[in-house]
Amino acid sequence: MSASAKAAGETGKNMKTQILILFLMITVGTVMSVQVFLSNRNTVDSIEVAGLSERLSLIEGQNTVLEEEILKKSALTYVASRASELGFVEDREITSIYDSRQIAIRR
């Protein structure tokens, strides 16, 4: 093989190697960038989630307080005490109707 042909062959090989190296560098660079981007987003999401958890905890706390209030106000012991304050009295009579009675009469 002549010297020029040999030199041309070697140049071609060098070109392929360079292209390969360049391709690998681009791939590695892209993968690293994507990883950094995803990690960063993960961290940002985690911060948001932490914030949401705190807010959720606060709302749950308020919810529990309200539930407690509702239960207290619907307790029979409370209702009975308020009823007597409002003037309700006990009715101890048992009323029974033995015969049929006309309730509505058309005149």
Partner: protein, 565 residues
Amino acid sequence: MKAETGLLRLFLVIILFFVLYAALIARLFYWQVVKGEELKKVGENQSLEILELVPKRGEVRTSDNYPLATNTITYLAYTNPKVIKDKESYALRIARILEVDFASVSAQLNKDAFWVRIASGLDYETRKEIETQKLFGLGFEEESTRFYPEASLAAHLVGFVGRDNEGNPKGYFGAEGYYDDQLKGRSGRLYAIKDSLGNPILDKARREGKIDGRTIVLTIDRTVQFIAQKRLEEGIEKYKAEGGSIVITDSKTGGILAMASEPTFSPEKYYENEEVRFVNPVVSNLYEPGSTFKVLVMAAALDSKVVKPTTKCSICGGPIQMGDYKIRTWNDKYYPNTTMTETIIRSDNTGMVFTGNRLGRDRMLSYLARFGLVESTGIDLQGEVSSSITDESLQYPIDLATASFGQGISLTPIQLVSAVNSIARDGEYFTPHVVSKIIREDGREIIIKPKKRTETVSESTAKLITSMMVRAVEEGEAQWTRIKNYKIAGKTGTAQIPVAGHYDPNQTIASFVGFFPADNPQITMLVLVNKPTTSIYGSETAAPIFFNIARDLIRYYNLRPDSLK
């Protein structure tokens, strides 16, 4: 020559690289294998957060799903004394808001610690008020606290939540104690990796094992419980008694609709009471039942066919002498040839001695066992005890005689009311119970069905004794307080209390047991009044309370009067 030198150089370089790589691998081996675990722990300490996930305790609800015991959030206030400059002013401000002793707050702030507790059990409003003060270094931790919206309503039945030896929440007494394993759930762990700012990294979090407690739904009707508690309080006040108990059961199923006792306590502040106050007298206290027991002995005698309702008593002309003892009637009145029905109506002790003798010891013990009086009822409440009756009981004739009218033997109120309820159920004994269902953590329900335990007497015997009990109400000493137009089967009881080997005639346990409507029983109830002082008799204390509650329940359940049936 040059080639040899070149080869030697190459060889040396290769050896050098080999040595360097070997050293590197050895070092890596040392850090990753030998020191691996240690470094892992250090790393975890820096970035791993392990949180204990405390399970939510299950609720205790009434039959209308209202929680008698539930959970609320309270706050624990803490601070770091080392960052507080003016401890006195700090303590003063906190003591003023919390209305606590300044000295105790100051003592906490003067401790040599990085974390001290200032106060616990704070509600949300108090927390907000403290936060407005913007006190440096003060923080709050959430705590789950047991909360009882109806306060002391059904306190003995519900029980309370305290702490065990390790400081963990634990149920004591009542349903909280009996069902503690179901209610407490199981704690878990959260493994979270934090970043350098302390924020959790989402996809690295791992939960393990937390199971919230199950919720139990009682057979208790909240309205009936309220009525029972109210009427009991009124009765104790009116008759100047030491205390009392009421049990109301669903005649059909044995489910407890209400169980009230006085004196009572607040489950939230149980620590303010002595332990004796927590004991539920209905399941844990033995008492001599007195004349209410007569219905069971008479039922046994009728069922054994040793007597009939019309059988005449041949020994009822006067007091009965038995050795050194003389058995009298409650009012010292005697009716020769009194029938068995009249014995119940008049609550005649001499007639019962006659009946007991006819029944005999062996049959008596056998029927007492059938009525569930020689062992625990099996009610699902903590602390139940059984009666004093055993196979060895009633050895002497006097024992049999006194047992016939309910003295000399002891049992619990729940045993008596369950036995009487078997009469209401035409001879079927149902195990009393307070829980109707359990709601699992996943929402599925476990239904607790009524359990029939045994037959006590035949249906015809049950009907016979029921009619006697109806006549006892309509013609006996409690007739003044009965409800017109409603047939109620019942029996009074006035049991003297044994004190130091003899009976105190001035101290009694007054009682009334019965069920209604007599033809188709819905409600079985026992009222006990402990040492009433305005009158010692059941007909004048326990019976009026019974009929007051019966009136309330007739209206509540809209029960039809007999003339409309």
